[in-house]
Amino acid sequence: MISTRVSARTAKRTRKIALNCLGVLVALVTLFPIFWMVATAFKPSQEIYSLTPSLLPAHPTLGNFRQVIGGQASGIGTVWLFFRNSLAVTLAAVLISSLVSLLASVAVARFSFRFRATFLIMLLIVQMIPGQALIIALFREFDQLNLLQNLLGLIIVYAAQALPVSIWMLRNFVATVPRELEEAAAIDGASAVKIFWRILLPLIAPGLVATSIFAFITAYNEFIVALTFLGQDHAAYTLPIYVTYFFGRGGAEWGPIMAASTMYTIPVVIFFLIIRRRLVGGLVAGAVKG
């Protein structure tokens, strides 16, 4: 009797150790590519091209980062220029898309109207259409509007592209605010605008933050539209196009490229860690009511 209990306890402990080992293994394998990116960024070039690669930089250097910041490495300018472009485009796009999707989500969550279901299904469908299918027409359209090769064109496209997912996400947040709160305020004589600012907005603020960061990440990572729109206009490049240009230039120096990629990755990683709890909810929002 006692011996079976002891062996059961040992079995449980063994299983726990095995699971933890598996967890460490999964984490290490997953982290390895990122580790390699950062490690390469800190290695001097003779270590990068050495015949026997070493795991950690033997003589860590900031030289690669210095080249990226100085602009010698890419030949088209300092990395800060492209950071500025990317931030300007994504922040403006996020601001516009948050505002527009907030209005639309109030419409679908608070009113019942004839084309409500049609509108929601339409959103689900359009977000599936890939950029490469529509890029020719988008390119022609923005060419005629004279919005190629400047950041305003990208802002408009990114803001609009973020709408379907943002509206779906925000709709759930608006729906969780009890109607009674608004009705009580209305009885007390508060105007619609005041109800919106004083009651609805503070309560859905967390949702708005999550949606905004989601839109930010999508716009910050966007590739095909920026690649097509910006062409040879180096000064307007966003970060992903800058890294692509740098990478495709021939005779690529891996140290500076990895330094640039690392710098490009850091902001998204921070945002992911901030919204980690809400990430899945937003993406599966269309399917699983949250």
Binding site: N20, G23, V26, A27, T30, P33, I34, W36, I48, Y49, P53, V100, L103, A104, A107, F111, R116, I121, L124, I125, V126, M128, I129, P130, Q132, A133, L134, I136, A137, L138, R140, E141, I156, A159, A160, N221, F223, I224, L239, P240, V243, F247, G248, W254, M258, S261, Y264, V268, V269, F272, L273, R276, L279, V280, L283, V284, G286, A287, V288, K289
Partner: protein
């Protein structure tokens, strides 16, 4: 005197304005157009980047829109289904379609199985360990597609890349007799290039599946697992009898989303196959992009391809929309 007049006019205008607002407000209420007004900005945006381009692509697909038409040297003519028949007659189209389908058919199940297993693992780990593993997964997920592609290009690079070096050190019975030192993964052909792409895409997309599975698992009552454990059910049986039936809606959505994402992959294929340099490594996205923007451009063929692409995706999307609607997502 004149100033007063201006001021008066201003006041009148303001009064008229507020009266107008009142009338406007009652008009909005009477006809219940408030929701439509709120939707207008969103509809304008969606029309601008989705509807209008889609209509344009559909028009192009029936026109001979090529270089002479782009430069204005010749007028645009309607050519019926000419672009579609030309596309279906092009062997490169079928090769790119085959690559796209096979890639999705490999990556989707691998991602789903890996993601689900990690999700189950996360559920059984202690809080600290679970946090550690999910943070690692989050980092892979957060890596931007461009950074991930460049990074994997470097890992699999023939000159100094870590993978070739490691493979060349391993014994032949394990890794085959290929001379791995200096093996070029990205330009040798579609198979090695898409092997790298498979590793890359599974690496970036399994975390989402894992975290979504974990979120689903947390909704399953612990008593169910407790009961199964007392009955001595094996983990395999527990998964198929308890977890899978309860999480089936989530798995279905994850499956459909993965199919759509992996079918639409562009950034990673563009960067890892060397831009548009290797025609035998095109997937559907690269094939369309090449038709549209490589010299000589053909918007007609690009339009036909966009329509074919969209129709294929709509077939998949119908499943996604139906499963969403069935679960009451619209209410």
């Amino acid at each position: 005197m004149a100033e007063t007049a201006v001021q008066l006019a201003g006041t009148e205008a303001r009064v008229a304005g507020s009266r107008g607002a009142g009338q406007w407000g009652s008009f909005v209420r009477r006809h219940r157009i408030a929701p439509y007004l709120l939707l207008v900005p969103a509809l304008v945006g969606i029309a601008l980047v989705y509807f209008w381009p889609l209509v344009q692509m559909a028009l192009y697909s029936f026109q001979n829109y090529g270089l002479p038409q782009v430069t204005g040297a010749e007028p645009v003519q309607w050519v019926g289904f000419g672009n579609f028949t030309a596309t279906f007659a092009d062997p490169e189209f079928w090769i790119s379609l085959r690559i796209t389908v096979i890639f999705a058919a490999v990556v989707v199940p691998v991602t789903l199985v890996a993601g689900t297993l990690v999700g189950l693992l996360l559920h059984r780990l202690g809080p600290k360990m679970s946090m550690f593993v999910s943070t690692a997964a989050l980092l892979a997920w957060a890596t931007p597609p461009v950074a991930g592609s460049v990074l994997f290009y470097w890992l699999f690079n023939p000159d100094g890349g870590l993978v070739d070096w490691t493979l060349s050190k391993l014994p032949h019975w394990l890794v085959g007799s290929t001379d791995w030192a200096g093996y070029n993964w990205t330009t040798t052909g579609a198979l090695p290039a898409y092997t790298v792409l498979t590793v890359l895409v599974v690496w970036t997309s399994f975390p989402f599946i894992a975290v979504a599975t974990l979120a689903g698992l947390k909704t399953v009552p612990a008593e169910l697992y407790e009961a199964a454990r007392i009955d001595g059910a094996s983990p395999w049986r527990v998964f198929w009898r308890i977890t899978y039936p309860l999480l089936k809606p989530i798995f279905l959505v994850l499956l459909l989303l993965s199919v759509i994402w992996d079918f639409n992959i562009f950034t990673q294929t563009y960067l890892l196959t060397g831009g548009l340099a290797n025609r035998n490594e095109f997937n559907l996205g690269l094939y369309i992009y090449d038709k549209a923007f490589s010299f000589p451009p053909s918007y007609g063929l690009g339009g036909a391809l966009a329509i074919i692409y969209t129709v294929i995706l709509l077939v998949v999307t119908v499943g996604y929309v139906r499963s969403s609607v069935r679960q009451g997502a619209l209410t």
